[in-house]
Amino acid sequence: MTAKIVIKDLHKAFGPKKVLQGVDLEIAQGESVVVIGGSGSGKSVLLKCILGLLRPDSGEIFVDGQPTVHMGSSDRARMLAKFGMLFQGAALFDSLPVWQNVSFGLIQGQGMKLSEAKKLAIDTLAKVGLGADVADLTPAELSGGMQKRVGLARAIASKPEIIFFDEPTTGLDPIMSDVINQLIAERVRDLGATALSITHDMASARKIADRIVMLYRGKIIWQGKTAEIDHSGNAYVDQFINGRAEGPIQMEVRAS
């Protein structure tokens, strides 16, 4: 079986700053992959490249076997219809009430009726632990964690085949984090969705990942089953998952 998403030798730089320097990754249908890595290591950029929101400098990306890097805009629109994405900053539309944010893809993309869309939005909000009273508020009236959950609801509302989560549990309390972890795991298990998530939260990574991938200096330096991460034998991974300041990963902080 060919993989759902294949990434080959992906490079992306912003001016002189090389962010991705040859990323290779395959994600199988129905698999949940979690990407870990230091802040600024290019995790969000990787996701945006796959979606075509950023154009990679070189390398190839295949979704369902189709090359996507040089895709025309109508083909890309068709491809993106398979995706749901939770952005790191939630990226809610602040001119629209919460419920229209959640069902935006259904109203615009599939022409769903407003009354039906609102009902579905309220149901989806309930899944991320938000009540119906939130539906009519605007995003600016929500707390950061609530915005995150609305973004999550928006990403899953249209039941996409492939879902990207950029730090789904950042800014949530531990209990709500667990609710969200379960929700993501459930999406993948019950609906057969393929998921690619970014997280700094190792508890969350352990719960939602089939496979964990570590990004460092623009390359994937380790990948393996979730259970293997504790004895990866990789000094970088060990340092990262145990959160130690000392080790091979030198953060860009220097006492001077």
């Binding site: 994405m85 539309f93 993309g109």
Partner: protein, 257 residues
């Protein structure tokens, strides 16, 4: 010396690159105007924001423009022909030139800035990226409604500006300069020519296009947080205003040559 040439070369290249980007942006936007889906509701909403909400500023500025024109021409032409010239000068300048240009500049300040700030914020907070992941083309959803609304509402605004401007001239001429009301109205009517008015309305549509285009372009491409949005807003207003005056010259030379 070499450094100097290199600097000039670099800035020239940079300039052509941004002109190219702008034309590309305009081309893509226009190509999306004619292809479905169409967001009619968004166009109407933008027409309200651009047109209706600009009425007070445009009305006030054109009122004063008409008043000042009457006053200036009265003192200027006092020696020869006197009052007959006032009505004609007011009508001609307002319909051909000042109505569209003043309204255009006001809209560039109000609307160009607002569009750039809104799209800029959407761009730096990933909202534009989010649109495309939700089966919605950002050009169609954000850019096209604003440009269409600009092209449609600017001529309507200018009709209002023309009427108020001419009225301003009338007020000054009749109440301040003691012109005869009925003969002033008659002279105004005689001086009012359809081609003049129409040329002003064509200009208005062109100004509506450049103002909204510059707002969208600078907003869409803004980078780097609040500061980036701030400079996008400034650039939208400055470039919009410059382009209005440039277009005004070009269109005038086309219409009246």
């Amino acid at each position: 010396m070499n450094d100097f040439l290199a600097t000039i070369g670099r800035s020239a290249l940079g300039f052509f690159a941004s002109v190219g980007r702008l034309f590309l942006f305009a081309g893509v936007s226009i190509s999306h105007i004619v292809r479905p889906p169409f967001y009619l509701k968004l166009v109407l909403r933008q027409m309200m924001l651009i047109g209706y909400n600009s009425l007070p500023v445009v009305g006030l500025t054109s009122l004063f423009t008409g008043m000042v024109l009457a006053l200036q021409s009265h003192t200027g032409f006092a020696g020869f022909g006197g009052d007959t010239a006032v009505a004609m000068l007011v009508v001609l300048s307002v319909t051909r030139e000042l109505g569209p240009v003043i309204a255009g500049l006001m809209v560039a300040g109000r609307v160009g800035a607002a569009i750039a700030a809104e799209l800029g914020t959407m761009s730096v907070t990933d909202q534009i990226a989010a649109l495309s992941t939700l089966s919605t083309n950002p050009y169609k959803y954000l850019v096209v409604p604003r440009i269409l609304a600009g092209v449609i509402t600017m001529p309507l605004l200018v009709i209002v500006a023309d009427i108020i401007g001419i009225m301003g001239g009338y007020i000054v001429a009749v109440y301040l300069l003691d012109a005869n009301p009925s003969s002033y109205l008659h002279l105004t009517w005689v001086a009012l020519k359809t081609p003049d008015v129409m040329s002003g309305l064509y200009k208005a549509a062109a100004f509506g296009f450049v103002v909204t285009l510059m707002g969208c372009y600078h907003g869409y491409h803004s980078r780097g947080g609040a500061q980036g949005v701030g400079s996008a807003t400034t650039n939208a207003v400055v470039s919009g205003s410059i382009l209005i005056l440039l277009m005004d010259y070009l269109l005038t030379s086309v219409f009246f040559s």
